[in-house]
């Protein structure tokens, strides 16, 4: 009996070591890629420059108060080939399951995005909730920047997008799945945030965005326009509005923004996009004393300003024939499908008139009058 049990234990242990050969790989033998950067090169044979940022696991926090990263870079014909070769550059098994940020260098934006991006959609281990961004001047430069506020166990790049760290109306967040659907669907154009860094500063600046249309057309949104995009897409319900009127200069912190719009196509008339924007906020800064009676004036002034700026932003999009807010999609979504729906929209968008009705309501002067 005892011998039987002994035999069983031996069998179990050996089978454990034998069977665990397949797929069993300890966590410390894996190299976790936390960010992937793709740049373009001038070399025709090897058009891609792939950069991987690996987190090097360190013991306790006490032993290493700064996170340590390793970088791998290579130029290759395809990204898949690059990954294969990079595997020989390291002792660890590359694990892309934690690659939460994919940065595209400026130099690659002119190429066919669908082609460049294919591997990230096709491979199983890139997560659908990875963040995509454009890096200026290059993806490699972004990856190799380590801000001083970076702590072990938290990556500064993640904190920018995750809403766990900083939250700002100037940061556009685009997930991988969102990017892919915008890339392939008509009537909703891809938009990516731009991360900038300089040699000297050693920090990230993420307050611009770029909109794509087809392969060639692009529109860079400046800081202010990026904010308008965030407000109108309802990604951000907190923003600020600066108003200057003669001597008076005040800023409103909006904390509740609601946007809805309709596309009206009355027969024989110019098509109209009717947009209602409801903003509630409080005064954050002002050059004069804000008495309760003045709140109404403030609301009116702010409304006027907002209306003007939003209309201007929408016209900017229209002139450049880009559609990151999904007007085309809304058009298709509100009309019973027929064969010409797509073509109709192509015709309508350039001559669309924007009827923006922004209503700002200032609720309080803040803590002081």
């Amino acid at each position: 009996m005892n011998r039987k049990i002994l035999f069983l234990v031996v069998v179990v242990l050996t089978s454990m070591t034998l069977i665990s050969g397949c797929g069993f790989k300890d966590i410390d033998k894996r190299g976790f890629v936390v960010a992937v950067g793709v740049d373009g090169t001038k070399n025709k044979k090897k058009p891609y420059r792939l950069t991987l940022k690996l987190a090097v696991p360190t013991g306790t926090f006490k032993q290493s108060p700064k996170p340590t990263y390793a970088y791998l870079s290579i130029e290759s014909a395809t990204l898949a080939e690059g990954i294969r070769i990079l595997k020989t550059h390291t002792d660890k098994e590359l694990d892309f399951a934690h690659a939460k940020v994919i940065v595209l260098g400026e130099s690659i934006l002119e190429r066919d995005m669908k082609e460049t991006f294919d591997i990230f959609l096709r491979r199983r281990d890139f997560q659908g909730i990875a963040w995509i961004a454009v890096g200026e001047p290059s993806a490699e430069g972004i990856l190799k920047t380590n801000p001083t506020t970076d702590l072990p166990g938290s990556n500064a790049l993640f904190n920018i997008f995750s809403n766990e760290g900083t939250e700002s109306a100037y940061i556009v967040t685009t997930y991988l799945y969102d990017f892919s659907r915008r890339l392939f669907e008509a009537g909703l154009d891809p938009i990516l945030p731009i991360i900038r860094t300089t040699e000297k500063t050693n920090e990230y600046r993420t307050n611009q965005a770029i909109v794509f249309k087809d392969d060639k057309k692009q529109l860079k949104l400046n800081t202010e326009d990026t904010k308008f995009y965030n407000i109108l897409s309802e990604n951000e319900t907190k923003a600020d509005i600066e108003v200057s009127k003669k001597e008076l200069l005040f800023a409103i912190a909006a904390n509740n923004i609601k946007v809805n719009y309709k596309i009206l196509t009355p027969a024989n008339k110019q098509p109209v996009l009717k947009m209602n924007i409801d903003i509630q906020g409080i005064v954050e800064e002002s050059t004069e004393r804000v008495t309760p009676e003045k709140l109404k004036d403030y609301s009116r002034d702010a409304s006027e300003v907002a209306q003007k700026r939003f209309t201007h932003f929408l016209k900017l999009l229209q002139e450049n024939e880009v559609d990151p807010l999904g007007f085309g999609l809304r058009y298709k979504a509100t009309r019973l499908h027929n064969r010409d729906t797509e073509a109709e929209w192509q015709r309508i968008y350039p001559q669309l008139k924007f009827d923006v009705n922004a209503k700002v309501k200032v609720k309080s002067p803040g803590v002081i009058e």
Partner: protein
Amino acid sequence: MNRYFYYLLAVNMVAHIITSVPMVLFEARKGGAIVSMILSLILGTIMIYWITKIFTCFPGKGYPELLKEYTSKWISFPLLLSTALVWFTAGLITVITYSALLRRFLTPEMPLMGIISMIVLFVSFGILMNSRSVLYTVEIVALLSIPFTIFIFIKMYLDKGMNWDFVREAMMYIGNMPDYPSFSASLYVILGPANLIIFNRVFTDKQKMTWKQLLIIGITGAFALFTSYFIPIGFQGFQHINHLVHPWFLTADSIRMKFGFIERVLFIFALVNLAVSFLSILVHWHVTTELLKNIIWFKKFQWKGYNLTPLVFVVLFWIGSLVIIPYLTEPQLHTYTEYALNFLSPYVLVILFSLLWIKKRARA
């Protein structure tokens, strides 16, 4: 009806989303997917109502017993055999799809054979249990996993990434004529109670089937179908969704939990679905074994007082899955499941008609 009836219903409603059912619907998204869904919902509910109603007239009796009692052997034998085959295929579809999914998302390095044997090993134990224990298992696992599923569904509905404009765009195709594959596929979603053909054996008390219960079936069925069709569209877009091989898994990978040990909902979804799919396989193959027991029974095939005939069936299941699955490529797998789905759901009509006939004879 007994609460176990609803578990059978729920298992199919959740388990179908990993099979090819949503993909069949997405193929027909620019055609008559929506109308087919509505039609199948109505017809399916009526069919289920009818079947259940007939079974309530014969408490404690399964389909094989009824066939034996009221028909001749020449009719019951082919009917039982074909039913067993249909149910086996239904189970096999889930085994195939889930093992492919496991290989893609959870255990990419493990050989396919290993994955299949792992699933089938546990299922083999389950299908040999008595029907009562199967129902208890179904209840416990369902009670543990379905709340998670509903949590994930709700999280998806409320997520910012869910773009309702895509859903509306899909809705704009409501005017098209229904087509057969999507009708048959969406019928599969609410056909869970068809498992009563065996499990009615343990419902020994007189059950009631009222319009209230019919309403529950209809509403949950509508919710399940609506969810499985529109959520992926809301996340992945409308025009190109048929390019995705695992639309539901990619959709689950599109939402994130900001706080918690696990950030990617995909893994919770995969594990919960593993549990529910397992139940689906368990239920279908248990029914198959019980049906086969009524056709083939070796009286002399005994060892220490146990009859070993069910083991023969289990061996057949093993051979079936281990031979068929590695042989297929993924696109083939999808095509064949589509054929199977085209055939499976209407087969319930055959059962329904035979039951109606039995009822008529019973009354006479």
